[in-house]
């Protein structure tokens, strides 16, 4: 077994914190691992990436070869496209759809989501929405780790242990916020896939997820939402047109 991940984002988004959590989980599990990262100039708001590899046999190259990545994990939608040629033919993308706009020619978000939808093997979460619900916008990186957790090879408890260690120096409140971001992100990712596997288009699933209160998301309701919308397209339009977010269990008990 060997897993190759490209972590992507923009300098300052906390890519190295994601790496810390996965690195230590890998070490904890007794895996071999290597993780190459970017320091220096690019960290000033430039595109940054980290190559992370773990497995039960020795890892040779610090860099993931083109075509060998199992996962591109990005805190930002545009950055996925800088690296997806690294993906193997059955590789996955886990990404936030919250754009990080610090360049004048940032593309249209809808077009980016369209591109990701065409790719298909994606788990998309709105990290800013979820991080805010968890208590701090800065926790977006942990949202994305949570969303990726089901594709990794560690128990959630191990990943959470290292989220806790990572933030331990910053006080219990920060730890709690980040653990919450991790859990909400995990639920959001699974819920999203439930919608898509239930037949909802990826852009629709992204739209719907934005309208569901992140704190209430329960992956178990995903298929029900997909089925309900499949039966009655109006339901989706209704929810999207609403002013505020709706609780996730509304589909089970419509208001």
């Amino acid at each position: 077994m060997q897993t190759n991940i490209i972590l992507a984002g923009v300098g300052g988004q906390g890519i190295l914190s994601i790496a810390y959590v996965i690195d230590n989980a890998a070490l904890d599990a007794g895996f071999h691992f290597k993780q190459a990262e970017v320091h220096g100039m690019a960290q000033r708001g430039g595109a940054v990436q980290s190559h992370l590899r773990y497995g039960d046999g020795p890892i040779h190259s610090d860099l993931v070869p083109t075509g060998r990545a199992d996962l591109v994990l990005s805190v930002e939608p545009l950055e996925v496209m800088r690296y997806w040629h690294y993906l193997s033919p059955d590789g996955w993308v886990v990404a936030s759809v919250t754009p990080y706009v610090n360049i004048p020619d940032y593309p249209e978000l809808d077009g980016l989501i369209e591109n990701l939808a065409e790719f298909g093997r994606v788990v998309l979460v709105d990290s800013s929405l979820i991080a805010r619900a968890a208590g701090n916008l800065r926790a977006q990186n942990m949202v994305v780790v949570g969303a990726a957790a089901p594709l990794l090879h560690f128990p959630d408890s191990t990943l959470e242990k290292y989220v806790e260690m990572l933030f331990a120096g910053k006080g219990q409140k920060t730890v709690d916020v980040n653990i919450r971001a991790f859990r909400l992100g995990r639920a959001a990712g699974l819920f999203f896939r439930g919608l898509v596997d239930g037949g909802l288009s990826i852009p629709d699933a992204v739209r719907l997820c934005r309208k569901i209160d992140p704190a209430t998301v329960d992956p178990a309701h995903g298929p029900a939402w997909a089925a309900a919308i499949h039966g009655d397209r109006q339901l989706l339009e209704q929810v999207l047109a609403g002013e505020s977010t709706v609780p996730c269990d509304r589909v089970a008990a419509p208001a």
Binding site: H39, G40, A42, D62, L63, P65, T66, W84, P89
Partner: protein
């Protein structure tokens, strides 16, 4: 046995600590910075290891040499171009030799991720006639440091450990050993050895030459230089290149392989390989050092030698597993997606609200009355002002070069000659050219961007900031009325432009200090 998650840089630092280190020296520079920082943090409070950033790499090297002279083990670390600054002390330390173990850890930057060139420090090791280790992974970073210190004391020579960016900044698990105690204070008494008057230097240089067969013997017998003879196609893989090679072959391959990690180049092992194969691919992350040695001027009869010089591997840039794959003539892996062409780039930029932005806005405006003005600059965050929207600086060559180059341009009659340099870069390499300019009364305007820290490499301590900076500048002879201090903020813009204009109008050496703390430094202090 303990295991720790460490960057290559950190593994170098920990290896040094466990080898009985007494002092770490260096100047911050990507990708080497984390070596020093790791030692500093790991030994903080214990009082056992001297750790204080030096003003520049030459000073760092000399301090380390002094520690060695006193019988203790010293580590000096820097980036590749830093070794140019330290080269005088470095080259001559091979002639004096050492007392306590002296290891130079130097991090090269193939691909120039954060550098002006991709010079290969193995050439320096060869030039100075000293041994060099080139670790392949984090574990070897740790282990080779311990070995390098022992070897240094045994041969009484400085030893180089050469890293590349990719290893310096890659993490892995590292198994560690029991620490060795530090050496006792034991200053050398061999005065002649350390006093390189020509008569002594000739003797010492002869000693250095006489040691060379022993160095070669060590490399020949090194467990790190592994030769496996198999088929008629051969590969030499140096340092990290070996990982990229292994990534692309499975256990059953039929290639004859020499994996190299200790220099001088083991000629005997290479001869055995060359005599066995008729095709030889040389893989190096850096200059084609070994490739060119094997080929010589005229090549080898009956063996096709391939590598960076023949185009199988690109002549420039960082090596990676894909390049090695194609050099091995293996088909590329299938991928899920083609690379996206014409994707919006995301270059690095100054932080929002960075004081440099306000300084350069004011400077741009003050210079706008000149035709096509150009500003000589230096190395730091402010180099990013070369990009739009500021486009405020027009050169960046070497640490401190802004002042000397602006002076030279002024000598040639260029007006206005303006240099922009950070406070730490000024202490590193800006003081001496300023002194020179003042002595000559050059019409030169030096903007010192005093943000109180070394911003680019992670807010390390600056040697000349605040009052200390003012004193140095006045001490260099700048007229007090032409040392101007401004606070670069949007609110002060008009006043700052006026001050700059006034100084630009004066025919002499002025220094304008733009003083406001780096935002990142404020953030780090708060957290």
């Amino acid at each position: 046995m303990q295991r720790e998650v460490l960057l290559g840089d950190e593994a170098v630092g920990l290896g040094a600590i466990h080898a009985g280190l007494s002092g770490v020296y260096g100047y911050p520079g990507t990708p080497s910075t984390e070596i020093f920082e790791f030692v500093e943090q790991r030994t903080a409070g214990s009082g056992g290891v001297h750790a204080f950033w030096s003003t520049n790499e030459k000073v760092a090297y000399e301090e380390a040499l002094g520690m060695s002279w006193a019988g203790k083990r010293a580590l000096v670390c820097m980036k590749h171009v830093g070794l140019n600054v330290a080269a005088d002390a470095f080259m001559n330390s091979a002639v004096t030799g050492t007392n306590g173990g002296l290891v130079l850890a130097v991090a090269d930057d193939p691909g120039m991720h954060s550098s002006q060139n991709e010079q290969d420090s193995r050439v320096y090791a060869q030039f100075a006639l000293i041994p060099c280790f080139e670790p392949r992974d984090q574990q070897e970073c740790y282990d080779m440091m311990i070995e390098a210190f022992d070897l240094s004391e045994e041969l009484a020579l400085p030893v180089m450990v050469r890293l590349v960016t990719r290893l310096a900044h890659s993490r892995s698990g590292v198994a560690t050993r029991e620490p060795r105690p530090q050496n006792a204070l034991h200053p050398t008494r061999e005065i002649r050895k350390w006093t390189l008057l020509p008569s002594n230097a000739r003797v010492q240089y002869r000693h250095l030459i006489d040691k060379q067969p022993e160095l070669l013997r060590r490399a020949e017998n090194s467990v790190h230089n592994r030769l496996t003879l198999a088929g008629r196609r051969g590969v030499i893989a140096c340092g990290i290149a070996n990982n990229y090679f292994l990534e692309n072959v499975d256990d059953g391959h039929d290639l004859s392989v020499l994996s190299l990690a200790q220099y001088p180049v083991p000629a005997g092992r290479i001869r055995r390989l060359v005599e066995h194969v008729d095709d030889l691919l040389v893989l190096e992350d850096g200059y084609p050092v070994v490739e060119n040695m094997v080929r010589g001027l005229f090549g080898l009869d009956g063996v096709r030698i391939r590598g960076r010089m023949t185009g199988e591997v690109p002549r420039t840039g960082e090596l990676n597993p894909d390049l090695v794959r194609s050099a091995l003539e293996l088909p590329p892996h299938a991928t899920a997606h083609q690379p996206s062409p014409s994707l919006a780039g995301r270059p690095p930029a100054l932080c929002k609200g960075c004081p440099h932005t306000d300084t350069f806005r004011a400077l741009n405006e003050a210079l706008s009355e000149f035709e096509n003005p150009q500003v000589f600059s230096d190395i730091g965050c402010y180099t990013l002002a070369a990009f739009p929207p500021l486009e405020a600086i027009h050169s960046c060559v070497a640490m401190g070069a802004s002042i000397g180059m602006a002076a030279g341009a002024a000598h040639a009659g260029y007006r206005p000659a303006v240099a922009a340099i950070g406070d730490s870069t000024f202490s590193h390499g800006g003081i001496t050219p300023l002194l020179s300019a003042v002595q000559q009364g050059v019409n030169l305007k030096v903007i010192v961007l005093d943000n109180g820290t070394v911003g680019m490499t992670g807010t390390q301590r600056s040697m000349s900031t605040g009052d200390a900076l003012d004193h140095i500048i006045l001490g260099a002879g700048v007229a007090p009325e032409h040392l101007r201090i401004i606070e670069p903020t949007p609110a002060n813009h008009a006043a700052n432009v006026q001050i700059l204009r006034d100084e630009l109008a004066w025919d002499g050496t002025s220094v304008i200090i733009a003083r406001r703390t780096c935002l990142e430094a404020i953030k780090r202090k708060a957290s």
